[in-house]
Structure formats: C-alpha cells, structure tokens
Amino acid sequence: MSGTLPVRLTVNGEPREALAEPRHTLADFLRHGLGLTGTHVGCEHGVCGACTVVVDGEPVRSCLMLAVQADGAEVLTVEGLATDGRLHPVQEAFRERHSFQCGFCTPGFVMTAYAFLRESPEPSRAEIRKALSSNLCRCTGYQSIVDGVELAAEKLRGDGRGSGG
C-alpha cells in the first residue's frame, strides 16, 4: 500500500473521512486533508509542540504520527474545545492572562494544557512550568502562559476565586 488509503476517524466529535498517503503526517492530514488549520506545524521533527492534539485521550505530536495510524481514533483539536460558542476554561484563562502574542504556538499549548490539567488538576507553578517545557514559544517568555494555566486550573476546579496573584 503506497497509494492513498482512506482514513476514517472522529475529529472533535464528528466522523470524518479523507484519503491520505501513508507518508502523510497526521498534522498535514488535519490541516490539508480535513481543512482544520488550527493545528500548526512548527518544526516537523517533534520538538516544538505546535502540532499537539489529543488522540484517544493522549496528548500527541501530530507531526510524529502518520495519518493512517489515526484510522479509527478519536481526535480532539483546538477547534473542538470551545462548545456552543463558549470558550473552554483553558482558552478563557489564556485570554484573561494575555498568555500569547503571535498565536502560532498557541494551539499546541492549548491542547497541551488541556491534557495536562486533566491529569494534574492541582499543579504547582513549578509543575506547570515543567509540563509546559515540552512546547516552544518564541514571543512570550512563558510567564504569561504559566499564569494562564494556573488560572485555567482554578477555573476547572471551580475555585471561582480568581487567581491569587
């Protein structure tokens, strides 16, 4: 099989199908095969994290997965986080804390933070920094992103008190 193969998967809750060559990455498939350009490509060798999506509940670098490997999978991309026009608490928190600037690394960080907070709902600031060290940002110097994840954790826990700092 080196010609195209059908890839059938669920993306953001919807069944999607398109053809892919075996060598097409999941990142390229999402962006060009399915037209979901929210996931970004920053390096194509798995370091920058801009391409991060969630596959079957796991945060994954979509540039390191072949599209054909996602056949049958459930994929969540940044386009799928907001529901009914309302931002996800992670997105809300990032907006409130001015977490991002140019926006290119942003979808990867949003998905990384989303997955991280599901596993670690009460992270310390140091733990947040460690979790975020998997993604590269060139604009912010990261502090505002850490602030955003801290606030997102509070929102998700329903603290509602606002950030302490």
Partner: protein, 291 residues
C-alpha cells in the same frame, strides 16, 4: 520536511509481521511509537521502501512482573511510567522513564522502541545495559535473546537482524536492598543527555560495596558499562574517596564525542560529576533500604 514515499504495511498478527520482515526486512523500518522513526523519515535520514506498522499486533503490550519484569514491544513509555509493577519492582527504570522525552512523546513512544532505535544519548538503553536486561527477538527462524551488553553495536545500530522484531525486554529481578540512581545532564531538561549515568549499588552490612552496576549514556557510540570502575568499587567502603576513584577510573576510558552542544572534555567531566553524585545518592538509598 516530508518523508519519502514508502509502502505501508499494517500486519494484524505476529506471524504476519515476521513473514513480512522475512520478505522485505532488508529495506523496511518497523513503526511502533514513531517518536524516533518519524523524525528520521521526515529529515530523510532514512528512506526505507517499506514501513511495517506493528501497532495492531495483539499481545505485544503486556507488562509481566514475576520477579523479573518483562515489557512487550508495544508498552508505551508513559504506561511503563505509571505502572505499579514498574514503580515497585524496578526503581532504576522508574527513575529514568519520566526523563525520556516529554509527556506528549511518552504516550506513543515505546520502551522497546527506544532500545531498538539505539540512540547513544538515550536513557533507556543505558538502563538496560546497567541492569543486564535481556532483549527478545523473534523471526521466522525462531526466537532468541540477546543480553543488552551485546545488543547495542553502534549509534543507531543493534544486533537486530533485518528479519527480526524485538518483542520484549526483560529486566532481571531487582536485588533486594540495592540502592539506585539515574542522573542526567542535558542542555535543557528532557533533551537527549549530554551525559547520563545509571547506577545500581549494593552495600554489605559494613557499608562496603558488595555490588555495583554503572553505565553511561551520551559518552560513547553505545551505552558504556563502566566495568573497570565497578571492579574498583567492589569491597571498598562506600564513601567520597572510593566514589571519586571509581569515577576517575570510569571516565579515563571514555571517548566521548564533541559537538555543538558540548565538547568531549565537557562530557567526560560531567560524566564524572554525575557518577559521583549518583553513587552518593544510590548509597544513601541503599542505606535507607537496609534501615
């Protein structure tokens, strides 16, 4: 940075996989986690005509603990990280696993995949060598086991024949009372190691070294077992003096690379520093185990 074209195979059984590898293994890459292979393909450092995706093969994702610990080819690094069996029975492996890549790569990357990829700066091959792990290989010709010390031949080259699949890695039972340490130095946390050291240390009732396993990552073309230093430590009181002597002995035989990230002299120096720190830590843990 796109991969060259290849024929894609997705066998559904182990037999199918092995038959495939017998036929096209000479020009094929095995795809499990893909965290190491896909960048290689993207950079066109390798352009195999075939890619054999083994993710659908059943039975390869088993973690079996009965004294020794066996991890099947599809056991993800993250699964191994959180597995109770790993944490409770293999402390050195458990300490190294969270340092491998990032959370986002560990969900797909496999333990066996890291071994099969054989990056000299990777953590898991060094743990395997330190612990005399055994690597199981299967082919149409049968199954065989290769000790870790004989598995890693050169950077990105192992004893796996083209028609073979690495099916599992088995770590021998952890010696009771042994202390451990895994320390790594990288330019940024979670990068490949400029130097890393895996230590297992056994102390006798008088606090002297009864057994030591020391292995380095990042300082040679494969993991480097510091057997000279292990011998030097044997019978010595576990303390600064013997640790320093062992570290000197260990790095004296190293021939680390020099590159844009660090000079050879730096790698040798930091390997020595890490080994001393690791020995201290392992000795303390061994004492705690006794207490």
């Amino acid at each position: 940075m796109k991969p060259a074209p290849f024929r894609y195979h997705r066998p559904e059984t182990l037999d199918e996989t092995l038959a495939l590898l017998a036929e096209i293994g000479d020009d094929a890459a095995v795809l499990a986690g893909g965290q190491s292979l896909v960048p290689v393909l993207a950079l066109r450092l390798a352009s195999p005509a075939h890619v054999v995706d083994v993710n659908r093969v059943p039975g390869l994702d088993v973690i079996a603990a009965n004294g020794s610990l066996a991890l099947g080819a599809l056991v993800r690094q993250q699964a191994a990280c959180v597995a109770q069996a790993v944490r409770s029975s293999q402390p050195l492996l458990a300490e190294a696993l969270p340092l491998v890549g990032h959370r986002e790569t560990r969900g797909r990357g496999t333990v066996v995949g890291s071994l099969a990829h054989a990056d000299p700066a990777a953590e898991l091959p060094t743990v395997a060598v330190a612990l005399d792990a055994e690597i199981a290989l299967a082919s149409c010709r049968g199954v065989r086991t290769v000790p870790a010390a004989e598995f890693f031949l050169a950077p990105f080259m192992t004893a796996r024949a083209p028609d073979e699949l690495v099916t599992e890695v088995r770590f021998p039972a952890w010696p009771a009372g042994a202390g451990h340490a895994f320390l790594e130095f990288a330019r940024r946390s979670h990068d490949f190691a400029l130097a890393a050291v895996a230590v297992l240390l056994q102390l006798d009732a008088d606090g002297a070294v009864a057994g030591a396993r020391l292995a380095f990552a990042g300082v040679g073309s494969t993991p480097v077992r510091a057997d000279g230093a292990e011998d030097a430590l044997h019978g010595q009181p576990a303390g600064e003096e013997s640790f320093r002597a062992a570290a000197e002995a260990a790095v004296a035989v190293l021939d680390p690379p020099s590159d844009v990230l660090a000079s050879a002299a730096y790698r040798r120096h930091v390997a020595r520093v890490l080994l001393i720190r690791a020995l201290r830590q392992a000795a303390e843990r061994a004492r705690e185990e006794r207490a």
